[in-house]
């Protein structure tokens, strides 16, 4: 997760728009149309578990350290929401008899607070609330993009779309609360 991400994504879109022809998306035969839990669903669940575990660490840190009561409460609610999602995501994989494999440890993925970022935040002093707010916003905004991708993907199974849609609404609701904190 980084501040560069949105800029990077915009640049990539701009580059794709002016440089290369936009490829036509191909259906993914293994899951499209069949409604079967396939590679896209597994990839989404694995990425979301890896992201969610790091997000729990971020939110727990905020609920312990934030000085503003509203921010502390928002952090606690975020942590609770991510824990509930982790249970559901692991349930999706278990229902499909897919053992969870961590494909993303150590990697900087969209919406994923990294160990380095968490360590730096943990070492913050009087500016903790400001820095936590920035990190939480990055998690929520970037993660919203990832879950929207699963909602929109023609390769997602119905149960993935249903969970991802709830995850998307959760992120937008939390972002609204964050914005109201000013």
């Amino acid at each position: 997760m980084s501040a560069l991400r949105l800029l990077t994504a915009s640049l990539a879109l701009a580059l794709a728009a002016c440089g290369t022809p936009t490829p036509t998306p191909e259906p993914v035969p293994s899951s499209t149309g069949s409604g079967r839990f396939g590679p896209t669903d597994v990839a989404f669940a694995e990425l979301s578990v890896a992201t969610g575990e790091q997000a729990v660490r971020l939110a727990d840190l905020g609920s312990r350290r934030a000085t503003g009561p509203a921010l502390r409460s928002l952090a606690a609610d975020t942590a609770a929401a991510r824990r509930a999602e982790l249970t559901e995501l692991r349930g999706l994989l278990a229902a499909a008899a897919v053992p969870y494999a961590d494909q993303h440890r150590g990697h900087d993925m969209p919406g994923m607070p990294t160990d380095v970022e968490l360590d730096a935040l943990g070492a913050a002093g009087a500016d903790f609330d400001l820095r936590f707010t920035t990190a939480l916003r990055a998690h929520l905004e970037e993660s919203a993009t990832v879950v929207a991708s699963a909602v929109d993907s023609p390769a997602s199974a119905p149960e993935t779309v249903e969970l991802a849609e709830r995850m998307r609404r959760d992120r937008h609701a939390l972002l609204e609360r964050l914005n109201r904190l000013g």
């Binding site: 794709a16 290369t20 990839a43 494999a101 990832v146 991708s149």
Partner: protein, 288 residues
């Protein structure tokens, strides 16, 4: 090309290879005219590619999920995105030399400060080294997907990345970024595993259908040797390595992805003409 001859020698051929490579190199230097050099006894063919596009997509690790990845630099095939499969890639065009190679290759994007820096030298070598019997190497199967490098490296200890400086061997190679002199370029090498299980074009962790040889032989679990893919990238970056980062994190998180879209006949011809008989071929898959 900064060929690392030491990594291309194997078994009993060391002395012979060294002598012949030396002879061939000096021949090509001293006789630049039409005189034909002796064939070089190195099992190799290659593709030189360019940056095609940049997207936060990964059709192997995050298939069907556009925008769900960190930024990747895509080389070769022009059409690669989150939804790509072999059929869609095979219908598209690419930018490699030779043009028949429609394969897709990708790596995390390199940033110098806030600026994304694409590599300007992008070479994929297909090599016979690493196994004792190059004559037994089989063509890379159509549609094979391989992820190389430890994408989950948490430090230098569990990383297979290699960063170095072009023409500046005095700068020790490292698993993390190095600081290169002004007249140099930042280089990275990545070798892909070359033993295939003979059955799966991909696997749940995108790794376990492939492995590396043990003492020059592919193990019984992965009995089919295919050419070893070596990616060599050169970035126009010099100076303080501390300014650099990858979209995936620090330098030791470097990894590469390969989706084989070589036409079967072109791959088969190169393996037969170059790899099995241990001869160095050019872009056209022909040897001296």
């Amino acid at each position: 090309m900064e060929k690392k001859t030491r990594t291309r020698q194997f078994g009993l051929h060391v002395a012979v290879v060294t002598a012949l490579v030396g002879a061939a190199l000096s021949a090509s230097v001293s006789t630049p005219g039409p005189a034909k050099a002796e064939p070089v006894r190195v099992a190799e063919f290659l593709a030189d590619c360019r940056l095609s596009h940049r997207l936060p997509d990964d059709p192997i690790v995050l298939p069907g999920l556009p925008g769900a990845s960190h930024s990747h630099d895509f080389f070769g095939n022009h059409a690669t995105d989150a939804h790509s499969d072999h059929a869609s890639l095979a219908r598209a065009t690419g930018n490699c030399d030779p043009v028949v190679d429609l394969s897709s290759y990708w790596v995390p994007t390199l940033y110098d400060g806030a600026t994304a820096v694409p590599p300007t030298g992008i070479t994929f070598y297909y090599l016979g080294e690493g196994v004792n019997a190059p004559a037994a190497i089989r063509p890379t199967p159509v549609g094979l997907k391989i992820v190389a490098g430890n994408a989950r490296a948490t430090g230098e200890a569990d990383s297979t990345a290699r960063w170095s400086c072009l023409h500046h061997g005095e700068v020790n190679p490292s698993k993390n970024f190095v600081t290169c002199p002004r007249d140099s370029m930042l280089e990275t090498y990545l070798d892909f595993p070359q033993c295939w299980n003979g059955r799966d074009l991909d696997s749940a962790d995108h790794k376990s259908h492939m492995t590396t040889p043990v003492a020059g032989n592919c193990p019984s679990t992965h009995p089919v040797p295919v050419p070893k893919l070596r990616m060599v990238l050169r970035y126009p970056v010099t100076g303080d390595g501390a300014r650099l980062r990858l979209s995936s994190g620090p330098g030791y998180t470097m990894h590469g992805d390969f989706f084989n879209v070589w036409p079967a006949a072109e791959m088969e011809r190169r393996v037969r003409n170059c790899i099995n008989v241990v001869l160095k071929c050019g872009h056209d898959g022909q040897h001296g």
